[in-house]
Amino acid sequence: MNLTQVLFWLLSAVAVFSAIMVITRKNPVFSVLYLIITFFAISGHYILMNAQFLAIVNIIVYAGAIMVLFLFVLMLMNLNKESEPQKNKYMLWSGAIAGGMLMLVMIHALQTDVPEKINSIGAGDIGLIKNLGLTLFRDYVVPFELSSILFLSAMVGAVIIGKKE
């Protein structure tokens, strides 16, 4: 077991564990924090796969911006305590079972493919900013521009919805 593998397993364990914690914590603030941990773990994976750009973006955008926004909203609403009212046992169990089933089915469906190895750290430079940036502004300029429409609409939406009248 080399370092990469150790890191892989470690990161995976952290990611899964904190993901479970996200959905089981009663206090939403804890959920947010655990989710941030998950994101960090995933970023770790990105680094393992030599996708540094995404790893950085993930931490900055997701863990940094988005999750903070979540946290901010939670604080704003003063929801930092256990806020979920009486739980519906039926929904709880059926939800858990359905999620488990989905996992089993998907894993089962996808396992039969021939296992192929992918290179880890250092292999390939496609994940570096330079490469991605070039491709993005050469081949992906149209979607890039179009995503501005998305942002515009989200902006307009935030204004429409969020503005107090």
């Binding site: 519906n88 929904m91 059926s94 939800g95 359905a98 999620g99 089933m101 989905l102 089915v105 998907m106 469906a109």
Partner: protein, 636 residues
């Protein structure tokens, strides 16, 4: 003028014309005019018929083909008239008696308002038209047209006084019972079309005897006979005829005694070739006829309504005719049709005269002693009674005798039963006669004396009486004089084939002259005794309040056949209809259909509960569906 016989269409057209005039202009014509038109067209028809009869007598028979009524592929049913011995004879009877009755009616119906008076004559003319169609048709389909037509007119005339629902019911009953018979007739026609490929008389008989299987012929003849049963009021379809007396009395005389009810006899006589080839059917016909004759006679013994007595007597006499047909005495049956037309029309008209005089009182128990008030009626009625009772030399004697002798030849038991019927006939006819004319008057109001009817009514009576007396001489049996049976020789061309076929298989021994003499004398003697007994018994008749015997009640109740039909057929059928209507239709099929709609609504109510408003549920269902879909697709 190639052949005047081609103008045979004139004969039915004249009454049709009368019908149209009287029918369409009934609000405008005065009674005199409409009665006059009604009678005149029949007279004209009669004269034409007479001319045709003479032509036929001279040997000119003719089939007049006018147009194709229905022509489909190979099938063609022409609208054609056949003028031959049989039809010309019937033409005479129908138009002759018809004319007399029209004349009679002008007086009898005179109290009706003008439109209704015209309506009456319109119906009567229409009836004559239909009857002529029936006898003149050259094929079974044209006959069927007339056949249903007379049924219709009978319906219309029975229900002539439509305000009375009993009358309407009687009319409906007559029509429906006729329809049952008509179905048999129709089936026979279809069968013939299939077997013979044609329904022309000539076309059918030409193929006989031939390769046609007997079973088919038996079937056809039986079906035809069902038709005859309906129209000629035989067991089991006879109950309509007594009820039909609800119509005006001249109608009873014309339709329900002289003409329409004999259509069945005409039809069988016409189809004699077919029947001759079906001995089974012949036996059935004879037995049904005999049974009807006896049954009706027993009922007539205890009826008090003068018209009912005559009605049952008619049924009984029709039975005789069928007996005659059944034993192969075609001529005899036709002969009896003719004589019966005269004396029964006479009796009905006489009864009508009495009823007229008694202000529409029909119960004989309230008659009595009318001899002195109604001399002409009395006298003619007496002739009629004697004729029907079979007293020589009146016409009834000859015709009935001819049937009975043939019956004796076929089976002596038929004869015995026939004589029993004849004795009963004599009894109830003279019971009627005595209760009406003899003894003391038992009428309700003695202030207004009954008076003799006007000439328009009495003249037809007298003419008919003369005919009832004289008609018998057309058919003098071999016993009295050789070759004196004019009718037989006249009708010979018609029955020749049938009779020869019958002769080929039946070994009936015609009784010897001695036996015949003995039988004649015995029967006449018995009849005379019965007549005197009846006169004695009923000349002192008073309305008794005592309970009649059980048997008498049974007879008075007409063997309760109507009630039986009601209980066995009518009521269950109606109840079944009700069952279908309420149970099968409303709560069965319709409920099932509506149930589909209800089910959709119900499932809608249930299904919308899925839409719980709960996002968790929604997503859960989506996920479950997702899992299932992946499962199915991957591992199927």
């Amino acid at each position: 003028m190639t052949n005047f016989l081609h103008y045979a269409w004139l004969i039915p057209s004249l009454p049709l014309l009368g019908f149209l005039i009287n029918g369409l202009l009934r609000n405008k014509l005065s009674k005199t005019v409409s009665g006059g038109i009604g009678s005149a067209v029949i007279l004209a028809s009669f004269l034409l018929s007479l001319y045709f009869f003479v032509q036929v007598k001279n040997g000119n028979t003719y089939t007049a083909h006018y147009f194709d009524f229905i022509s489909v592929g190979q099938f063609s049913i022409p609208f054609a008239f056949q003028i031959d011995q049989l039809s010309s004879l019937f033409l005479l009877i129908i138009t002759g008696v018809g004319f007399l009755i029209h004349v009679y009616s002008t007086a009898y119906m005179h109290h009706e308002t003008a439109p209704h008076f015209a309506r009456y004559f319109a119906y009567l003319n229409l009836f004559v038209f239909s009857m002529l169609l029936l006898v003149m048709g050259a094929n079974y389909v044209v006959m069927f047209m007339g056949w249903e037509g007379v049924g219709l007119c009978s319906y219309l005339l029975i229900g002539y006084w439509f305000k009375n629902n009993d009358y309407n019911n009687a009319a409906k009953k007559a029509f429906v019972m006729n329809r049952i018979g008509d179905l048999g007739f129709l089936v026979a026609v279809f069968w013939m079309m299939q077997v013979f490929g044609t329904v022309d008389y000539a076309g059918v008989f030409k193929q006989l005897p031939g390769s046609i299987p007997t079973s088919a012929i038996v079937g056809i003849t039986l079906c035809l006979f069902v038709g005859a049963m309906g129209k000629s009021a035989q067991i089991p379809l006879y109950t309509w005829l007594p009820d039909a007396m609800a119509g005006p009395t001249p109608v009873s005389a014309l339709i329900h005694a002289a003409t329409m009810v004999t259509a069945g006899i005409y039809m069988i006589a016409r189809s004699n070739v077919l029947y001759a080839l079906a001995p089974t059917t012949m036996t059935v016909v004879a037995l049904v006829g005999l049974a009807t004759a006896l049954l009706a006679a027993t009922i007539a013994l205890r009826q008090n309504d003068i018209k009912k007595v005559l009605a049952y007597s008619t049924v009984s006499q029709l039975g005789y005719m069928f007996l005659g047909l059944g034993v192969g005495a075609f001529t005899g049956a036709v002969f009896h049709v003719m004589t019966h037309a005269f004396f029964k029309a006479l009796l009905f008209l006489g009864a009508g005269s009495v009823i007229h005089a008694m202000h529409h009182e029909q119960d004989m128990r309230h008659y009595g002693g009318l001899k002195k008030y109604l001399p002409i009626t009395h006298f003619t009625m007496l002739i009629g009674c004697l004729a029907i009772a079979g007293i020589p030399p009146l016409s009834g004697f000859f015709s009935k005798d001819e049937i009975l002798i043939h019956a004796f030849a076929a089976n002596p038991l038929y004869y015995v039963a026939g004589i029993a019927g004849a004795l009963m006939t004599a009894f109830y006819m003279f019971r009627l006669y005595t209760m009406t004319f003899l003894g003391s008057h038992r009428g309700h109001n003695h202030d207004e004396k009954p008076h003799e009817s006007p000439l328009a009514m009495t003249v037809p009576l007298m003419v008919l009486a003369a005919l009832a007396v004289g008609a018998g001489f057309l058919g003098i049996p071999e016993l009295f004089a050789h070759q004196a049976h004019l009718l037989q020789s006249f009708l010979h061309p018609i029955f020749e084939k049938g009779e020869s076929i019958m002769a080929s298989y039946s070994h009936h021994q015609h009784p010897s002259h001695n036996v015949e003499w003995a039988l004649l004398a015995g029967s006449v003697g018995l009849i005379v005794i019965v007549i005197f007994f009846a006169i004695r018994k009923f000349s002192k008749f008073t309305i008794s309040t005592g309970q009649p015997s059980k048997f008498a009640q049974l007879l008075e109740g007409k063997w309760y056949v109507d009630e039986l039909y009601d209980a066995v057929i009518v009521k269950p059928l109606l109840r079944f209809g009700g069952f279908l209507n309420t149970v099968i239709e409303k709560s069965g099929i319709d409920k099932a259909v509506n149930g589909i709609g209800k089910f959709v609504q119900y499932s809608s109510r249930q299904m919308r509960l899925l839409q719980s408003g709960n996002v968790g549920n929604y997503v859960l269902i989506m996920v479950v569906a997702l899992i299932i879909i992946i499962r199915i697709i991957l591992y199927n």
